[in-house]
């Protein structure tokens, strides 16, 4: 059944008319029109669809969009600080932590949430904090380096 509601994505309120069973990922990609959030498995296993819901990381493939009403959704398009890249984005590039880039938006959302709850995570905490995001390209080493570099940069 189709329903109409409003959704706050990256600080902008979007009117949405969609099937009430439509997941948040599909609404973000198709109704809101932001395609940076990716679908890799539709199974909560790969993390490519990770967004923040009121600051908490969430696999948007497995969450009903209607449930996000009245809450703040942040996608990869909402991470930049105006025209400037977030330190995580810049450090991922400089460390070589981006290859094919398909996991990257979800990885950045998880890393951002991690650093917001733990400003200087130990290596094992960072590993666990990113363990919901699969990357086939990098072996994770350069991604973990970028998170470490960002933690240092944001806290000095």
């Amino acid at each position: 059944m189709t329903t109409s509601y409003e959704l706050d994505v990256n600080g902008v309120t979007y009117p949405v008319t969609a099937d009430q069973g439509k997941n948040l990922l599909s609404v973000i990609r198709e109704n809101v029109g932001l395609t940076g959030t990716k679908e890799g498995c539709d199974d909560c296993e790969c993390g490519a669809c990770m967004v923040l819901l009121d600051g908490q990381p969430l696999n948007s493939c497995s969450y009903l969009a209607v449930q996000a009403q009245g809450r703040q959704v942040t996608t990869i398009e909402g991470v930049m600080d105006g025209p400037e890249m977030h330190a995580l984005q810049r450090n991922l590039l400089e460390a070589g932590g981006v290859q094919c880039g398909f996991c990257t938006p979800g990885m950045i959302m998880s890393a951002k949430a991690l650093l917001e709850r733990d400003a200087r995570p130990e290596l094992d905490a960072a590993r666990i904090g990113l363990s919901g995001n699969l990357c086939r390209c990098t072996g994770y080493a350069k991604i973990l380096s970028a998170v470490e570099a960002t933690a240092v940069e944001l806290n000095t």
Partner: protein, 758 residues
Amino acid sequence: MAIAEVPRFVRADGPDKVTGSGRYAADINLTGQLVAKFRYAGVSHARITKLDTSAASAMPGVFAVLTAADVPDVIYSPVVPDRRLFAKDVVRFEGELVAAVAAVDAATAQAAVDAIVVEYEDLPIVDDLEAAMADGSPLVHQDWESYAVTGDTVQRPNVASFSSIEKGDVDAAMASADHVVTSRYVADGCHALPIEPRAVVAQWEGEKVTIWTSTQVPFGARAGVCETLQMPASKVRVIVPHLGGGFGGKCGFHFEAHVAALAKAARRAVKLVFSRQEEMVAPDRRREGMIVDITSGVKADGTLVARSGWIAIDNGAYTADAAFFPQLAAMHVAGPYAMEAVKIEASLVYTNHQPSGSVRAPTAPQACWALESHTDELAAMVGMDPVEFRRANIVDEGVEGAAGQIYGEIGLRRCLDAAVDASAYSDDLPDDEAVGVAISWWPSFPGPSGAYIKIDSDGSGMIITGAQECGTGSVMTLRMLAAKELGMEPEDFQLVYQDTSAAPYDTGATGSQTLLNNGRAVVEGAREVAAQLRDLAADRLEAAPDDIELASGKAHVSGSPDKAVSIVELAGVAAEGEMLIGKGSGTPPEYPSVSAMCVGDQGLAGWAGPQFACHAVHVRLDRETGVVRVLDVSAAHDSGTIINPVAAHGQVEGGIMMGVGQALTEGTQYGDDAKQRNTGLLEYKLQTAADAPTIHTEFIEIPDPNAGPYGAKGLAEAPNVPTAAAIANGVAKLVGMSVRQLPMTAERVWMTSEGMSS
């Protein structure tokens, strides 16, 4: 000796990828586009007795329903053509396409797919490699003898391609050995598993079709469309937006023709996006299961004298690009060792499984795992340290390899030393920890490749290349090569790529070949432009062109840096007349000849630009559960000159992690019905950041004169080869014997340690 003076290299496609603005195939949407869905066989081997699409076609919102009857009857695939776009009469694996639908939305398309009536008469399932090769086995392809195979391909019933490598008298040499050791190793198949499931969008304008697709090989995809839909290349344009990884899984030609045919029939743009389950079941690219029997003869002093081998490779139902797998697997079971005599036979066996195809270093990780596990057994037999045993038997400069190739300067010995020295191999470790060591090799693949280079009136450069970026950074690195030739910065060049109607041919992101081949093309094209710049500068500076040097964005007279003109200024002059345009295709390196006798030769016994590696892997075993954890990996690689260190380290780290997965958790499980049982990421386990070991990488840089630019060899596949083998040797030290099945799951490790066959 990286060629770049810049300490880091930020990719040109990087900002798109970290900000979410980068478009992948699934992000492309066209006005009026329909959704494509496929009807799969759902059974592994059956004759189609009824196929009725009338109800599906009649559904409102359904614009096209296609079956084999609606497309040209073309049997395709390179070397062993054995399949059609849609099943005709017989289905041979669960993911085979029976029909395709285009409809207004996903729900309507799925309802139409479900409304297609297909009835089957079961045929006997062929899923055991040895039984399939036995006399009287049911055949996967009744008509196999009618297939128009090419080259020296040798076939037998249920064997799509057979190869053997034979040198010397293996029986006599084996008889001269003091010890003979025989081992059997069995590897499960597994998946390439790029995180991006593939997507294809097709749109016709008149007789021309444009296809946006997530392929690793745009020109290969175009060739597949042309062959199966019987169209000239001039009417087909293939564009790849950003590609979300491939690892071989998106090599070859897959569903571009199906979507193009749907779009033609529907007279609308059509879009296909695969689910993860479809990605796991339908493509004819997954890593092949394999049985390896190896027998080696060694002298009491540890000298390897002879090796015989028998290899059965699971081809699955169709051959895709796998005809060369037997010869490549045979080379990897011979391995980078010297010996008097060798005889290895390998068969690519038809089964009713998903077809195999090139996944990152096809056949090599499994064959290396078998060989290197066996090598540790040989060392134990003669009472030698495994590393010392390898030092005594590996190939080196001037030494003849198993297939008779004599090597130039190679870095294998230095790789072995470097990886072992950087590891905890010689340390006293706790009882539950050990370091395993494995060596490996892998070819480079010379081939044709082209690029154009131009400099516009404002002095900005452009590289127009047929090369495909699948994430490795190899296309990004082309900018470094052009910049070096032209005295400019990598950032001065934009890339136009992944469009078959814009650029010259390239094989694609396959065989680690981009930098090797397209790198040569870019250097050649840039040198043409450099000559044009020198001529222009010579005119203005009143010097001979040969005395002009290009550096720091300027052309100056050699020895007189002040007598200079900027490239921007020269570009402005050129834009008014004879423009700065270069082209290159380079000259591919030659494949060396070999002395071994090769039956079913696919041209892969002599390797140009052979790469070598050693991994030393520190593992910990939980003896209660059989769970193995990889703590630390020391890797050393000879891939020739390293052009882009940041990207090169990324390739090694990613290859190792893929190898850890293959070693421990990644394996396809089949039911008795020959269908895959673990097609979701819940059941098919990839390694996560929490599992990531620390990785130390060293490059042994020996420029290879018969390879790519500045002596670079390939790189992207080689790091995936020895990891599983090194882990296996560490685990074997802790368990007391080899785990003879791959992946070495906790259950298999535990059962082996308990003396039970797993």
